[in-house]
């Protein structure tokens, strides 16, 4: 059984490193494409070391050229099947390689701070501020619940507003942009396909967002990574 990490063009030098289960990675070539694979027996578990190995192999591949990242846990019977898959899917894979060509993925996740968000949301709304003054210490639980519900809704709207602001700030820098669903307290995750020479611009855009929203939003900014969000 072979673990499949990714597909590259045949002129990619390939990757020789340690993959899932500590196995050495090899390259299976067919036509104008090649797959980065390693041998594995038995079950694949999504354990930290194997997950990180999978990502590490793809990061190595990305340093030497374009790569289509496969989802963790993709396996195929043997090299013969792998070559057949490369042949059958060649058109599709070439189209995807062209899409991500010369680009890397950067991801920005924005997570709100609840207390700061409450401060801003309530401060911006006179009615809500009066309601808070009246009911935040109420001895009637249902009144505090009703107030909390209004505050929660206001914080949620503030989060959507911030998410829109973040997306519009990044849109100009990225070649492609994918907004991914999140659950609170995250307000948005944005994945971007970016040419490496635009990275300083993106860094600047993210720093500007931090300057603007950093009091109530923390940013997790990661990359360059293989273009996971742009190959499906």
């Amino acid at each position: 059984m072979l673990v499949v990490y990714g597909v590259v063009r045949a002129n990619h030098p390939g990757v020789t490193t340690t993959g899932v289960h500590g196995a050495e990675t090899t390259t299976t070539r067919s036509g104008a494409l090649a797959a980065i694979v390693s041998e594995a027996d038995g079950e694949l578990l999504a354990r930290r070391r194997d997950v990180e190995a999978h990502l590490g192999v793809l990061e190595s591949a990305l340093r030497d050229g374009d790569v289509l990242p496969f989802r963790f846990g993709t396996v195929i019977d043997d090299e013969q099947h792998m070559r057949r898959l490369l042949d059958e899917s060649a058109t599709h894979y070439h189209r995807l390689l062209d899409r991500v060509s010369g680009c890397v993925q950067m991801t920005l996740k924005a997570v709100r701070d609840d207390d700061q968000s409450v401060r801003v949301a309530v401060g911006a709304d006179d009615n809500l501020r009066r309601a808070a003054q009246r009911w935040s210490n109420s001895s009637v639980v249902s009144e505090r619940i009703a107030l909390g519900e209004r505050v929660a809704a206001a914080v949620e709207r503030l989060g959507r507003h911030d998410a829109d602001r973040i997306v519009s700030q990044l849109r100009g820098v990225a070649k492609e942009l994918s907004v991914e669903p999140v659950s609170p307290p995250a307000v948005v995750t944005v994945s971007m396909l970016v040419q490496p020479d635009r990275l300083p611009d993106l860094d600047q855009a993210v720093a500007a967002l931090h300057d603007e929203l950093g009091e109530r939003i923390s940013f997790d900014y990661a990359g360059p990574m293989p273009a996971y969000s742009f190959v499906t």
Binding site: G123, V151, A222, G223
Partner: protein, 183 residues
């Protein structure tokens, strides 16, 4: 005051949960060729994703306003466009829907599972994540994993966003303990 100092970009997302989301939820698949046991992943996914609207959540937000200096001048500069939105008022009708939605979510995650219990033994025995017995195996077919995971969390993808909140302290504790034990 800033919530967190900004450290610029890192090579990878900072939490294991976000890395997993990247490489388990995205990336190319070959139909019928994905075979993986997501031992421990569902636990992470549930903890990161489950959104339960609760009275506690609203009480927590009400209490948060207590910590504000409400006599302070309105802090609305830079946010004029918000004010219209923010004055729309409460949404008491949402409570019931959110709560029952959350119940459905919990049911779909923990109840009615047809294959939850059948792989308690075997090679998974070495997994240290079995301490709370909530490991699940996800169907291994390409696409199926994604769709089942998607459906189990559709409540947080917009439908109940406005009125639901998870218990963050619990979430963080579980996520970090999971991170630790998986090293």
């Amino acid at each position: 005051m800033t919530v967190q100092s900004y450290a610029g970009r890192a090579p990878r997302p900072s939490s294991l949960a976000d890395v997993l989301e990247l490489i388990l939820d995205k990336g190319l698949v070959i139909d019928a060729y994905v075979r993986v046991s997501l031992v421990g992943i569902e636990l992470l996914t549930i903890d990161a994703r489950i959104v339960v609207a609760s009275v506690d959540t609203y009480l927590r937000f009400a209490e948060a306003t207590n910590r504000l200096d409400l006599q302070a001048a309105s802090n609305s500069e830079g946010l004029p466009q918000l004010i219209g939105d923010l004055t729309e008022g409460g949404a008491s009708h949402k409570t019931k829907g959110a709560l029952s939605g959350a119940t459905d979510q919990v049911k779909s995650l923990f109840g009615g599972g047809d294959d939850d219990d059948e792989d308690e033994s075997g090679s998974n025995g070495r997994d240290r994540g079995n301490d709370d017995g909530r490991r699940q195996r996800v169907p291994a077919r390409a696409g199926a994993g994604r769709s089942s995971r998607r459906s189990s969390r559709n409540g947080d993808d917009g439908s109940s966003n406005g009125s639901s909140r998870s218990s963050r302290s619990t979430e963080r504790r579980r996520r970090s303990s999971r991170d630790d034990e998986d090293r």
